[in-house]
Symmetry: none
Subunit: 234 residues, 2 copies
DNA sequence: AGGGCAATGTTCAGATCCGGTAAGGACTCG
DNA sequence: CGAGTCCTTACCGGATCTGAACATTGCCCT
């Protein structure tokens, strides 16, 4: 559960999937399967609704819609959204595939298909759409060096620069005992010497702000360690 | 639709395709067809050669290779290259597809397939790998580096050169906390040194002109960040 | 088990750093 | 010459850091 997570749906940043499908017999199992895998699923049954729906990361688009032409939906989505579009349809002629892919679809899947493959294709396109969505996840703590944001139990916690840098050192290698010296040289100056009480002050601030019991452990005589399996008691 | 973005190969920047295929009967027509469409094609017949080949934009990878396992090739390519990988194989079981896609493949095409579809899929993955994006859209803010125009809520906002450059840095990677140093070196001189109040002056001007509450956030002690989900209160 | 000692936790106030803002002057370009 | 742009300086309020003093904890030795 620890380490870098890339593009897997998580509680903090769920991947939003918009299913555009008018056949209940297909939409329902899709919704059910994707939800179980942690995706946040919204289902609509027409092209008009699809274009009015909220923002999504992935759009599963059936081409045989009652109102608007499927390819038209695809083009319009592209005009204002970066969402990945996976066309999911029964029509599998090569001409149809080429037309859809050239109208902005990222992938084209012919029914019937397996849920496992669909999810694998979703992961594949998300790798390209959100290339840098890599942050650290340790239990209910997330640390994103890109945005320099930290959340605990889904809520953002405001950290000062030093606090963030220290936490980043710890979370980059969960469980490893990191020495005081390493922390001081990495967060402060390359060559640090002298009193080190300042580190304890910041560690205390971190513990108070994160408020996760036992998350940051003291390794007596050495340094500190981030505990992957710490509870988040609130 | 904001201009159909064309990733068609051009004479100036030909798209380099690496075909990894040991069956001459397939490799040869592929090479011929892709070359005719303007791609720069290199063909190799083994996994080892594939890993030693020059840089490519797209790799067409047959999984049934004589030496190394195809998926191993895929993983290793991913380790050092951003090239799009399209697996092209005769084995079409769902398990194979999922495995390949999760090992870094961008697409999976089962033989036999048409050249038109292959090229459409190449264009589709290239759209994501080399986003030929002409302008940035973040919420109700648009930034067009080509024309150097900026609009907020549909209305154009006049920015000075420096203001535009700063905004371009921010909008190019929405949400990322960009350090003062990076902004100063990218907008001003490559090696900037000294007081930095000038940056704050321009940031203030940007905030005033864009007039979107919370769009440009200060990351205390670090730099600034453009918030993708900022409201546009008008 | 208990005492000694060093390491760590806590608290807090002063020092320092940082960012927002305003004003003035230099510079460019038409 | 005038408008617009850019840079510098200065000041202020607030956030943050830091060192010190004191309290507590954990280790080790007798």
């Amino acid at each position: 559960m620890s380490g870098v997570i890339s593009n897997a749906p998580s509680a903090e940043q769920p991947v939003r999937v918009l299913v555009v499908e008018d056949d209940e017999g297909i939409a329902w199992p899709l919704r059910r399967g994707l939800s179980r895998s942690g995706y946040e699923v919204q289902t609509v049954a027409s092209g008009r609704e699809a274009l009015e729906a909220g923002p999504a990361d992935v759009v599963l688009l059936d081409l045989g819609l009652p109102d608007v032409d499927g390819l038209e939906v695809c083009r319009r989505l592209r005009a204002y959204s970066d969402a990945a579009v996976i066309v999911v349809t029964a029509r599998g002629e090569e001409g149809d595939r080429v037309a859809a892919l050239d109208d902005g679809a990222d992938d084209y899947l012919v029914k019937p298909f397996g849920l496992a493959e669909l999810e694998a294709r979703i992961r594949a396109v998300l790798r390209r759409v959100h290339p840098g969505r890599t942050h650290y996840v340790v239990g209910r703590l997330t640390v994103d060096p890109r945005t320099r944001r930290v959340t605990v139990r889904g809520e953002e916690v405001a950290l000062t620069p030093k606090e963030f840098d220290i936490l980043e050192c710890l979370v980059a290698d969960p469980g490893r005992a990191i020495s005081r010296h390493e922390l001081l040289t990495r967060v402060w100056d390359e060559n640090w010497y002298g009193p080190t009480r300042v580190l304890d002050v910041h560690i205390a601030a971190l513990r108070r702000k994160l408020a996760v019991d036992g998350l940051i452990e003291t390794v007596y005589g050495h340094g500190f360690r981030l505990v992957p399996g710490a509870e988040a008691g609130d």
